[in-house]
């Protein structure tokens, strides 16, 4: 076929790209996926919305928090990179930021900064979640929840 030669070259180009792509990805543009939820916990009422938050309510009550109602205000899966911080809008007007600090032996560390709150460095793991107080809002407290993205 006439196109044999050029197709061969094309093929090498494509193969080359195929090799380079994953390598490139692993260098600079590292991104990790983190699920971030903003939950409003309050002592008014007993509403748990959505029902999956029932577990969160149990855990908090076990720690002797007096919250009776848990409502999810937002949920998103962020691709957190090292280059630039990802922002999460908090309903009280502030922004929480997440930034990848690095990946060591396959474990990523993400820095979480919430205005007027301590800054956390969180090591990602396949189980569990980190609940951080994120400020006051409409008769309750905001809680930022970091967890592995749901599969």
């Amino acid at each position: 076929m006439r196109t044999h030669v050029s197709s061969g070259r094309m093929l090498w180009a494509v193969l080359g790209l195929g090799l380079l792509l994953p390598l490139a990805a692993s260098a600079q543009d590292q991104k990790v996926q983190v699920q971030v939820e903003v939950v409003l916990a309050s002592k008014k009422g007993t509403e748990v919305d959505p029902p999956e938050l029932e577990k969160m309510k149990e855990q908090f009550q076990k720690q002797n928090f007096s919250f009776t109602s848990f409502k999810r205000l937002s949920q998103e899966v962020l691709a957190v990179s090292a280059k630039s911080a990802s922002e999460v809008k908090l309903p009280n007007g502030a922004n929480a930021t997440l930034q990848l600090q690095g990946i060591k032996d396959g474990t990523a560390t993400v820095r979480v900064a919430i205005p007027r709150q301590p800054t956390l460095d969180v090591e990602l793991g396949r189980q569990g979640a980190v609940y951080q107080k994120a400020g006051k809002y409409v008769g309750g407290e905001l809680i930022l929840v970091l967890s592995p993205p749901a599969r």
Binding site: M1, T3, S7, M10, L11, V14, L15, L17, G18, L19, L21, P22, Q30, K31, V32, Q33, K55, Q59, F60, Q61, K62, Q63, N64, F65, S66, F67, L100, I103, D105, G106, T107, A108, T109, R116, Q117, P118, T119, L120, D121, V122, E123, L124, G125, R126, Q127, G128, A129, V130, Y131, Q132, K133, E141, L146, S147, P148, P149
Partner: protein, 215 residues
Amino acid sequence: MAGNPACERFVPMLSPYVDGELSSAERVNVERHLAACRDCTGRAADLRAESGLLRVGLDMAVDDVDFKDFTQRVMARVTPDKPPFMERLRLAVSEMFLYQRTAMISSLATAAVLVLVGLPLLMSDRAPVGYAAERMTVKSIQPYRNAEVAPVVMETDNGGTIIWLVDEDSDVLPPSGVESGERQDKTGGGQPDGNGRSVPARPVPDAPRPSGGSL
């Protein structure tokens, strides 16, 4: 029935009259006419009946519908799920298809890319990038500026971590539980040292838990 010529003037006003949209002067005029005109009184009654019917009819149609999932469906349209990974890959590859005209190139290229790019990504698909560790853990805490209160770190029994900041006006944790500066040695970690540097947080299992408060 031959229309009373005066009615011609009033009939168009009956609609806004029934809606309560006439000025008080106009309303008085209309009511004066209605008192004297049976036809127009009937017309006004017809308008009201029609209004009511419309509402009843629509009410019934709306009641027939279940709005339980309505908001969910709206949100689903607002934030469509990203197509699953393999789908995205296939799309990316099929876009390459378009640029390579020759079928031979396309198929070889596809195979090559799928193998070289797909495989490593497929393997890492089992545990997403960065999630080699088993648990989400808080490695360190940097207190907010010169905060006098230290964050409290609690471990839940399903492997989660709660980071809480007790401030004065917060009555979430009862005051008999964690007292700010005084408990530095007992909470075992997550404390700012003198220079405000962050210290690795190790929730100490035997630290006194905030005791149950007003639940």
